[in-house]
């Protein structure tokens, strides 16, 4: 499963990071709390979130997240975009709500990134 597969299923658009779309996704983390994300055990996870801050990018970068999808039509702020560019982390946007996005990815066979 690649980021591109998820992008299609979520009807998402790419904000930045076209070159990272073929990265492999092993699991999904869905949260608006950075602490929950930090407690995730696996790397190579796709992060679904409604939290639009540069800290989300920092968290994904430190944890080895492969891409971030902002739900509910959110658009990341410019400084988050700049940071994501440096680390090659694709930022995507979908109009889907968090729950719907989770359901669709579960339908693809993806599972929750296990906690530490």
């Amino acid at each position: 499963m690649t980021v591109r597969d998820c992008l299609k299923r979520l009807e998402a658009e790419v904000v930045v990071g076209e070159e990272g779309l073929d990265r492999s996704v092993e699991s999904v983390a869905a949260s608006d709390l950075l602490s929950d994300v930090l407690a995730t055990h696996k790397h190579n996870f796709l992060l679904l979130t409604g939290l639009c801050t540069p800290q989300v990018v920092r968290t994904a970068e430190l944890m080895g997240g492969v891409a971030i999808v902002f739900c509910r039509g959110k658009y990341p702020p410019q400084d988050a975009i700049g940071m994501a560019k440096v680390h090659g982390i694709p930022l995507l946007c979908t109009r889907l709500q968090l729950f719907e996005a989770c359901c669709r990815l579960a339908g693809l066979g993806l599972e929750q990134a296990p906690p530490a």
């Binding site: 608006d32 709390l33 950075l34 602490s35 929950d36 930090l38 407690a39 790397h43 979130t49 409604g50 939290l51 639009c52 801050t53 540069p54 800290q55 989300v56 920092r58 968290t59 970068e61 430190l62 944890m63 080895g64 739900c71 509910r72 959110k74 658009y75 702020p77 410019q78 400084d79 988050a80 975009i81 700049g82 940071m83 560019k85 440096v86 680390h87 709500q97 968090l98 530490a116």
Partner: protein
Amino acid sequence: MSDAATIQTLHTDAQNISIVSELMYQLKVRDVMTSNVATASPHQRLRDVQHIMRDRKISGVPIVENQRVVGIVSLDDIIRALDKGEIELPVAERMTRNVATIGDHVSVVKAIDEMEKRGFGRLPVLNKEGHLVGIITHWDIVRKLIVMLQEVALQAEQRERSLAPPATAPTDHSEVTILEFPVEKDDFENAGRASSAVKKHLQQRGVDPAIIRRVAVAMYEAEINVIIHSLGGVMTARIYPERIDVTALDRGPGIPDIELAMKEGYSTASDRVREMGFGAGMGLANIKRCADRFEIESAAGAPTRIAFTVSFIPAPR
């Protein structure tokens, strides 16, 4: 979506709107206008104006005499003239006099207002002496805003690429490398940079990725704590061949009840901090879980010192 995220959304949208409107108030007409304006004199013919419009691909030409704007001819005027067979007439006979203009020192917001009020798509721009110095259209404004927004992203990108080198150059004794980072109170913009720099260093050393993750998470939590809860401090990483020791030492105000602070879910973080997605009260517990050794010293009114160790040799956990 959680309340924190909803509030964050409103803030982000408000931030983006206010960034744009701040930009627009800061921008003056002269920052945005096109300077080499195509003009014509009142003694030229309408056909000459038609050719100017065709060649420069514009739809409005200010008519100028002695550097002063005395009229303006629009594409509509030309079409009407062609229709009535008047295209050879002198400009002076068909130009619109009493032209709406705008000063070059005026804010772009005001310019947009004027264009809106008058229903004109362009305004000739005059300097304080009343001379024509440019012309401003909607498209000029949009293009400038796009460039400025991209600037913000570009600057963030450059800042991130130049991840601040450690406060003191790594002192490479044969056994230990020391990396030191000052961390400022409430410096959310830079939160995680120290952790990111150490992660990079460990990657270069070829440390096992799963171990690097634990170090990164623990250090990030410690870094955020210094930023959120303390008056500022220093993070120091000491990297040995077989392990890393990290210390976060702040300048106060200290933790009155350490046991309570260690409880998962307990947090003294402010609402503002929670809106950013922090402050769930998992930090200290998370550090302890990630590390092989964990120490915390603090008291009300005193500095807090957190120290943890992660071994590079994978051990059964």
